[in-house]
Symmetry: C2
Subunit: 427 residues, 2 copies
Amino acid sequence: MQRKDCFVLKGNIIYAREDRTLAEQSEGYVVCEDGICAGVFDGIPEQYKNFPVTDYGDALIVPGMTDLHVHAPQYTFRGLGMDLELLDWLAAHTFPEEARYGELSYAKQAYPYFVEELRTSCTTRACVFATLHGEATVELMDELEASGLVSYVGKVNMDRNGGVNLCEESAEASAAATRDWLSAVKGRYAHTTPILTPRFTPCCSDELMRLLAGVQRETGLRVQSHLSENPSEIAWVKELVPEASCYGDAYALFDMLGSPDTPAVMAHCVYSDDAELALLKAHGTYIAHCPESNLNVSSGIAPVGKFLAKGLHVGLGSDVAGGSTLSMLRAMTLAVQVSKMYWRLVDNTVRPLTFADAFYLATLGGGRYFGKVGSFLPGYEFDALAVDDSSVKSMRRLSVTERAERMAYQECACRLVGKYVRGRKLV
Amino acid sequence: MQRKDCFVLKGNIIYAREDRTLAEQSEGYVVCEDGICAGVFDGIPEQYKNFPVTDYGDALIVPGMTDLHVHAPQYTFRGLGMDLELLDWLAAHTFPEEARYGELSYAKQAYPYFVEELRTSCTTRACVFATLHGEATVELMDELEASGLVSYVGKVNMDRNGGVNLCEESAEASAAATRDWLSAVKGRYAHTTPILTPRFTPCCSDELMRLLAGVQRETGLRVQSHLSENPSEIAWVKELVPEASCYGDAYALFDMLGSPDTPAVMAHCVYSDDAELALLKAHGTYIAHCPESNLNVSSGIAPVGKFLAKGLHVGLGSDVAGGSTLSMLRAMTLAVQVSKMYWRLVDNTVRPLTFADAFYLATLGGGRYFGKVGSFLPGYEFDALAVDDSSVKSMRRLSVTERAERMAYQECACRLVGKYVRGRKLV
């Protein structure tokens, strides 16, 4: 009898190990057994001989990628209005667009564009911000669940400094709306998990943070937010929460920075100093490094080499629409590129990222937030991509690792021809 | 009787003016008369009513783009080995690959890949480095001519500090090979022009520079080279030409920096100080800004905002394979992105580039090197692109300018559906 989610993919396989080195197997076989990776082999082992084989020919096969930070409602205006800094950009572009999701009909029209592009992208897992609107957030979660992607999704909380029609009336109203939303989605999904999402300290009063911490304690849910993205934002947080020793502490003070068992995702950390990084390490925080967004809204460059050297958890985020694209391949190349500028222009003691580092960040680095995800080591959940790079001509035979590097830099010339999440075929 | 190269294109038209502002005409008509642009109109003027019309529907129509700096032989290894700084990268990757073009058979296999991708890209004009090999350079020029693209192409000169099998024997041998190459191509092309191409000062002895200046005086040809790309390179030039007041002066001293009537293209200028910029301005030099290359080989960020404020000529270059892609759309977005980091990390008195600036640089800024090229103002040579952006979904009606910005950021989702150079259809 054929078992469900048991199969073999054949192709040129590459994946990251936990020590950030890459393993490759040309013309290899990667085995999925009950949705879990059984390993990579140069031939099909005896016990898997009866599994069906999909032969991807000369294509590359890589682990699925994790987008640790993306704003679903902002997808509609990605690549527009890229002339402003963070706080002005939020006011001019982001808040007016997010306000539209108060109409469920708008969400029903707009969210499918986002979900369909995410489904057909290299992303298999994502941590997603919705808007403050509960109904629209349920709509987004329904669509993500139907897509087969695995995600954390958060209804946003914001009770101060929002935009026109984009601010909750009070801390209590925001917390109550959060409880309503959590009731609506309780037990509803297999692949979609709610996550508490205070927008960022400037938009969340102390009282709201306290109430959300209460919800967190009751539910055990994780938290996602933004941290130390931009100098003006950081100065503002210092005024708003003067008792915090650093911006990160403005979350920790209210028990909203998570713990190693229930880790938070904090996007950016461009300006986190050693004390803040020590705080993040103690809390087991995952840093979502979003290089394109940091360029586009003129934030700066996060010292990812330093994060890795300190043993912090790091993955990549598209941060659409601070980032213009959902492409994790673009996030990989930009992560390498900006790390070189950090080395050149800011601190030449922080080594630039290698391609292997970037590949690790896009796959295993962010995947770990979802458990054993992001590698083809035995025991990992089976998320895989097959990528046809045949239109990228070469004059010599390249190693699988070289082809993977080129895939990242030549993303427009590559084509996703297969995609699997938890052993289920999406593309 | 129907005249050659007389036609009308219909679509959503955008182009830059000489003051770097953008003009747009939705559902407009751009007229080509004898290969020259007659202007953009909201209806077809009476005198052009008999011209054939190609209706590109809802597509964008933009001027052709100029790649002011690209290395044709390096196309084969673009997007590989992106872990080294300039001088190490030249030794490890570039010189060994360029040495292969000593075999004409290799050039005949490899150059068509480059030319075909350039033909089907957004680039209509290019300043191209070949290798030091005369025969292979003629091969490249033949192929570029056949493609319909317009280009300057240079056989490279290098008589010191080359690689294995990639160094000319002496200054005299290099100059003689240059004369042979120029004889071979004399009168051979309508769209392809030879340009003198001393690789850069570290690879060209004083004597070679003197001899090339002699060739320049005899032929009146233009010059292209590299300038002030990387700190180690600049320190090396200081040792090699101690009498020069700056790196740029190491060209000027030997009459190899051109003049306003015969302008040189100098790639990079990342570290050009005010004195060097004054020298470039006096000589009418065109700066080829290559943002992706400057990231990839860890050079730094060129202060393009400063160049523009000083009234210098600037355009964009892909600098393949320091850059990984021939895409001028990518060059546009990266130019904006790195200018924001220059503002944030280096000098906050230099304003970041706007999208209009980047569009100008990719079209008219670089196009001017070829004459009246890069705009749809009346009198410009007719280089045009039609771009289908219909797969980039939007929730509201966008202006043509907004769509053009999004085209640049969403390049993978856009499709070139028409391309014209000097009024001739290439795609």
